[in-house]
Subunit: 245 residues, 2 copies
């Protein structure tokens, strides 16, 4: 029975879901169902959100703008998630930034913090665009929750406002710091963060700034020089495997 | 002193390198140095290959086709690498396949095996193009060796010819297999492989085929459904961290 549902398109649903409820799907999702997947009245969909878990529903009406669904039954309980994985990263060039967002969602990040570093080249982000990428990636990877996207800030401000109970594993190039896997396995952390700087690296001043904070744990990402997005993939893979998140 | 060299462009050099030798760089690299980086006679470069390690050299002449360099001194010994990380994967769509190759190089893969699965959509690859991507990624990430690229084959043939001493950690979706980090940490392997199927997943017949081989170790890549390229990034990150490769 489970298998049938896996063929249903899976969409994020911001509205509250209860048995028998009739909901208009958001415009984007409606468009996708009708014009891309050619779904129509009677077809099944899966809908999810953080509060209500995952449900199956049937398309029960359509207008030019909206597909209307009738909620059927819950197939997944909401996650009781207490662990947090934060990603603190410098925006990078378009395609590679898209990959960072998509992979962060797939690898279980709960909080995304775009941060300006001295050598950040892309100094502007489009939060709406990133939010759509987050939703799309969550739909695809069967996550129930969306990571929280923070506003763009700078490193100093981020550090000033940081919750000191959450250690930040900071990837600093060409250091002899503890390997990340070892650093992250030394205690069973429920909340942690990965920090990855821009393509051009973190400056000496920024390293000094980081070193003034006790919650910063410098880590090594291995013997090779990783591109910024690879450092994110590598770091998040290790952290999420370690936390079983 | 080391720091100065880090600003020198870093190129793969297929020829043997010895002190004082005069070499014509390959056409691609020559073009890149002259037309992209605007380098000319007297400028320094870093050259590397698996056999000779990494060297600094000076551009000592140029023709329309070639930049000629005079070898100066060795700055890195060749790696004495005994560990092997094999990547067995289904070709996927263009941009994402490019990322797989680039990240495989960055994450320390030594052998790349493109394999046709039943659900592989991209059934043709351009080995020359992949080889250029391999070289470019190795130049960028400060690797000394290039991974070996095998010819495209199919799963049955690959399994038939496989060296049984090298375990293959096979990522099979929706299984309750051992998590990869745990499977890979249970013994200190010097040679291992990661197998990731196509976007559409591995078929039941392919799973049966895999299960007939004792060197296949089914593993789980965590609770979410990862895209094919994410499964590669995740798996290789864990394996390379585990092997300290």
């Amino acid at each position: 029975m489970d298998k049938i549902f896996h063929n249903f398109p899976r969409l994020y649903c911001p509205q509250a879901m209860t048995k028998g409820a009739i909901l208009n799907l958001p415009e984007d999702g409606s468009h996708y169902l009708r014009n891309v997947l050619r779904k129509t009245i009677g077809d099944g969909v899966r809908l999810f959100n953080e509060q209500n878990g995952e449900w199956i529903a049937k398309i029960s009406a359509e207008t030019k703008k909206f597909m209307t669904v009738t909620m059927d039954e819950q197939i997944k309980q909401p996650d009781i998630q207490t662990s947090e994985i934060h990603l603190i990263f410098s925006p990078i060039k378009k395609d590679r930034n898209d990959m960072v967002i998509e992979k962060a969602v797939e690898l279980g990040v709960t909080h995304i913090h775009p941060v300006l570093f001295a050598r950040t080249i892309v100094r502007d982000i489009k939060p709406e665009r990133i939010q759509s990428q987050i939703i799309e990636a969550a739909e695809q990877c069967e996550r129930l929750s969306l990571p929280h996207l923070s506003s763009l800030t700078d490193l100093k401000k981020l550090l000033g406002e940081w919750n000191k109970d959450i250690p930040i594993f900071a990837a600093i190039e060409r250091t002899d710091a503890t390997p990340l896997l070892q650093a992250a396995s030394s205690n069973s952390l429920q909340k942690l963060a990965l920090l990855v700087g821009p393509e051009g690296g973190i400056t000496a001043e920024e390293i000094d700034l980081l070193n003034t904070r006790s919650f910063i744990k410098p880590v090594s990402l291995g013997p090779r020089i990783l591109r910024a997005e690879t450092a994110v993939f590598y770091g998040l893979s290790l952290l999420s495997a370690q936390m079983k998140a």
